[in-house]
């Protein structure tokens, strides 16, 4: 693999990768963010950090084929990347102090860096520094998310470009500009001090949730889910909650992610197709995650400072605690969506409220809300609007219109699994 190329994150469909490639891909998922975050702390140079991390993975592919996969891939990669950084800095005749720091690779507290398997990350760990820096309010919001996905989650520029519906070159420019600003304006690489946290936190929460969603309903790739990204978002969410135990929205976000993630196993069938909530085998839901999510949410709500993540988690809890679909408290969900609409008005929230109203007050009431949304036009091109209309039209016995709406949704759906799901709905209609 040439330097600068990104190792494969997911095996190509239809081929079983040799074990070394699989191990490198696995290590990439697990170690990329920590590796880049640590290299940035050592070198203070974001481009150098990314390049050395990439070089380390390229080297791993060759060395592991020859010598076998090391017992601790993360430690191996860290050493390889550090050596690469030392070489690069030496060639660029960097200052002796910086060279010593990287070569010695000392933590700020003077303890030599020695990653252990299963090491629980310290609070704050390097990834948390990285995410707070990526989400600095002096950066444009779209740059924050892009930078987090690139440096922390290791998505390629092309993947991020697709997620944002912009060209790859435009995204590359956006990322480069953000990194230049961090360097030239001296945006500090740290978790902000306590008095700054309340104003810095919302941007971090937004980015984590986006990261989770990217993993939970991936915008690219063959399968609908990339569990590694969702797991990374949850892991970072836990670190954040440990760091900010008094911040109910951080707990609310973690609860929300856990409650969604509890359904992961039931959300796909054997062929990898999406299974909708009402058709999921609820015995396959992860009871431990649900219990953890509900407990977190209850604790957060006790603080009496509700916010959008807590309300969304409350909605997810309504679903997660219903033993059967018909036990779902749709009236409560409709109320919660109305509340959410008050906190963060958005057409997608209104779409969900319409679905909940359709379930609690009847399909005609839901359809009236959806038709108003459709006239508004804000969700043009979003496949879930015609999909939701189709379901309500079906329940009203308006079969022909329902068929048209399913077909419209199929034309707009982004992933093959979603299209197959809609096709099954359509077939059941006929």
């Amino acid at each position: 693999m040439r330097p600068g190329a990104t190792p494969p994150r997911t095996p190509t469909a239809g081929t079983v990768p040799p074990p070394v490639e699989a191990a490198v891909a696995e290590a990439f998922r697990e170690e990329w963010g920590q590796l880049v975050a640590t290299l940035i702390r050592w070198t203070g140079d974001w481009d150098l950090a990314e390049e050395c991390a990439q070089d380390a993975f390229a080297l791993a592919l060759r060395a592991w084929r020859r010598d076998g996969v090391p017992r601790r891939p993360g430690a191996w990669l860290t050493t390889a990347a550090r050596n690469r950084a030392v070489d690069r800095l030496r060639r660029e005749a960097a200052g002796a102090a910086k060279l010593r720091e990287v070569a010695g690779a000392m933590r700020e507290d003077g303890v030599p860096y020695a990653p252990e398997p299963g090491d629980e990350p310290d609070v704050p760990d390097d990834r948390l520094r990285l995410i707070f820096t990526c989400c600095h309010p002096a950066l444009a919001p779209e740059a924050r998310v892009a930078l987090t996905l690139r440096t922390l989650a290791g998505l390629t520029t092309a993947e991020i470009a697709r997620a944002f519906l912009v060209g790859e070159q435009a995204m590359a420019k956006r990322l480069a500009r953000a990194k230049h600003k961090i360097r030239h304006a001296a945006i500090p690489y740290r978790v902000p001090p306590a008095h700054l946290l309340p104003e810095r936190l919302p941007a971090v929460l937004a980015v984590l949730y986006l990261l989770f969603n990217e993993g939970y309903s991936a915008t690219s790739g063959a399968g609908p889910m990339r569990p590694g990204l969702a797991a990374e978002a949850i892991r970072l969410g836990r670190v954040l909650v440990r760091l900010m135990p008094d911040e109910p929205e951080a707990a609310g976000l973690l609860a929300l992610m856990l409650l969604h993630d509890s359904r992961r196993a039931a959300r796909q069938d054997e062929t990898g197709d999406l299974v909708v909530l009402e058709e999921q085998d609820r015995t396959r839901w992860d009871a431990a995650r649900i219990a953890e999510g509900v407990a977190l949410l209850d604790g957060a709500l006790l603080r009496g400072r509700p916010g959008p993540y807590q309300v969304q988690a409350a909605i997810a809890a309504c679903h997660a605690t219903a033993a059967r679909p018909e036990d779902t408290d749709w009236a409560q969900i409709a109320i919660l969506y109305a509340r959410l609409k008050g906190l963060v008005p958005s057409p997608v929230v209104e779409l969900n409220r319409a679905v909940a109203v359709g379930m609690s007050a009847g399909p005609a009431a839901g359809l009236a809300l959806l038709d108003a949304l459709r006239e508004w036009g804000a969700l043009a091109g979003y496949h879930l609007l015609p999909a939701a209309r189709a379901d309500l039209l079906r329940r009203l016995g308006r079969t022909a219109e329902a068929g048209d709406a399913y077909r419209e949704a199929m034309g707009l759906a982004a992933t093959a699994a979603e299209r197959r799901h809609l096709a099954r709905r359509l077939a059941a209609l006929e």
């Binding site: 600095h136 002096a138 030239h184 304006a185 001296a186 945006i187 500090p188 902000p192 700054l196």
Partner: protein
Amino acid sequence: MKYVLLICGDESAAEHADDGCGGWSETMLERGVLKGGAGLRPPDDATTLRVRGGEVLLSDGPFAETKEQIGGFCLIECADLDEAIEIAAAHPAAAYGTIEIRPLVSP
């Protein structure tokens, strides 16, 4: 890190021209972060110059006819952008005008 704080405002900011900095300068000098700066006479008193083909071209007024004009500047030296933001946010002009924080080209 060195930054220049460019204090900007529209015409309404002119009424604050003689306000002074309400103790901000003294505090920041004492803290050792304020390295220099001054308030500026209004854009009406500005002269803009270019040299083109060896010829000095002058025009009356500021280089950009925009609503927002620079009313003053401060040179500060501090740890990083977060500290610069905190220093700028304490400046009284931040409450009625805007302050642009520009890092200096490092030597």
